[in-house]
Symmetry: C2
Subunit: 329 residues, 2 copies
């Protein structure tokens, strides 16, 4: 069933059919209705392929999913993808998926070179990002989820800085003066944002941060266990994990030593996920709306593709969830 079939059936030209269907150009209400109702009767659906060729617009976007994620990041990307696809669908787009990592971006290149997408969404950014370099070079519209640090790149991200500053200052104002922070890879932009937010939270609460309580690049539960053990020797009010996986390790280290939360020490996290969701006691943390992040990234990409005005950096809101783990006894 093509536009020709229905033109023939209705004794009009296919130009007219096309116009009726697309709603573009002048057309009488009566013929439009005739076309519409007939098309509806026979359940006519235009060929997206033919439309693509004629308009040189695929109505597809690509989502580059990192394949080198840690198991704990999975819920994040899944939820993000869910947001992307649902927004895409509501904007009449479809999404190709390709797996990439820091060194292999062949999945992206395929999609772009075969002209299958109008733009790309990057699920993760790397330092010295090959995908960003390639897409800029090719002049393909794209937006990154997370910060890239590369000038001229449109990005959508959670407002880690503000969130961390806010949570930190709240804890300080609650009287928890000596805050320890355990963080991961310091070359990740996101971790730097969180660290800086942590420091700014101190400034806002007019408390001087104790640099000796800040531990970056703490990889693995073994390392974290040692750090926690060390902290328990000293005078610390609260231990903050820079993300949920780290916080999980902190909790484990504490439990194994029969340290009670929040009686003996408080715990908080700069990121929340299902990992911490079911924990007892409930853990104070920053909550982000990851599905919305995906949706926003998608609609922003469509803005870029359609050359509508776009802000370069979109920072999404956070929620500070104060739970039992930081309760003052």
């Amino acid at each position: 069933m093509t536009i020709d079939d229905i033109a023939r059936e209705l004794n009009i030209s296919k130009t007219t059919v096309s116009r009726a269907l697309s709603g573009k150009g002048r057309i009488s209400d009566s013929t439009r209705n005739r076309v519409m109702s007939y098309a509806n009767d026979v359940n006519y659906k235009p060929s997206a392929i033919a439309q693509s060729l004629a308009t040189s617009r695929t109505m597809n976007i690509g989502f580059a999913m990192p394949s080198d994620y840690d198991i704990v990041d999975m819920p994040f990307f899944q939820t993000c993808l869910w947001g992307v696809t649902s927004m895409a669908m509501s904007m009449d787009r479809d999404v190709f998926i390709s797996m990439v990592d820091a060194i292999d971006i062949s999945g992206i290149i395929r999609l772009v070179e075969n002209h299958k997408v109008d733009g790309m969404l990057l699920g993760r950014t790397y330092s010295d990002d090959k995908a960003i370099a390639y897409l800029k070079d090719m002049k393909i519209p794209f937006v990154t989820i997370g910060s890239s640090g590369v000038p001229g790149v449109v990005q959508v991200d959670n407002n880690d800085y503000e969130g961390c500053a806010e949570l930190t200052s709240i804890l300080l104002l609650k009287g928890l003066k000596r805050l320890a922070l355990i963080g991961g890879n310091s070359t990740y932009i996101v971790n730097n944002n969180r660290l800086n937010g942590f420091l700014d939270g101190h400034r806002r609460a007019q408390v001087k941060p104790d640099e000796s309580l800040i531990f970056m690049d703490s990889h693995g539960s073994f390392v974290i266990d040692k750090i926690v053990a060390g902290l328990l020797e000293g005078n610390v009010d609260c231990i903050i994990g820079m993300d949920d996986a780290i916080c999980e390790s902190i909790l484990t280290a504490l439990f194994s030593r029969d340290v009670r939360i929040p009686e003996d020490i408080k715990v908080a996290s700069f990121f929340n996920s299902s990992l911490l969701e079911h924990h007892q006691p409930q853990v104070t943390s920053l909550k982000y709306n990851v599905e919305k992040l995906g949706m926003t990234a998608c609609s922003t990409l469509l803005d870029v593709i359609e050359e509508r005005s776009t802000v370069m950096v979109t920072l999404l809101d956070y929620e500070v969830a104060i739970k039992e783990s930081t309760k003052i006894m």
Copy 2:
């Protein structure tokens, strides 16, 4: 850069260019080489869209990812998707992703109606599956990952039945005569396969199963905790979890009661994942190659699309990993 450009540049017809590029039809080696090397020089890539229109083949497949999964299923679908995309890429295909659940298959309908895919991969099957019904009705090639029970549907699955029978009989032969089985939703086909494998394992080892030790439809850690408590009252050698999440709950229930594994009781699982991977002691379980499952599903779908001969049911191999949790002391 189109086929016309290069035809003009080389002073030949675009028919010839097309033939040189596709390798179809007679063509002299010299002209082919001229075309190839020029195309290579200018990094010419054919428009997949134009090819699609001309051949009415999109070179795309769709992957229907369930959106109603439990958190514990995520690694499975991710890994599966990874297998699918890598196989697709090696077969020169791209994959659209759409999120679906038991009641909403609009994502699939979009892809099919817009003629954007040559076939679909169903990541999960439901009883009374709407997607299967739709795709059969539309006569769209598709294959399911997991069993559908619907006649005439091509499927690729792990060989749960054989794996469970094998593991069960091994445990019995090791002298663990009284095996308890805790399983989930009995309406899921996969769970029935596992239950039947469990029973067949008894038959093979010539041990009569004790029906009172089989608990299906055990949802939630609370329910499982009660079952485990009950089992500890009686005389049980080993508790088997039908999947990794259930096994995790079993382990938790045991630990909270200071029951030692494998000293006091043995534990095994009919499915493995990262959930159990890092457990101490290591848990005896069935291991499947989920990435291969995805790859096989993808290549099978391409067989169906290309109308090559296909077997209706492909069952993938398992590995029985005997670990410390079932060690005879």
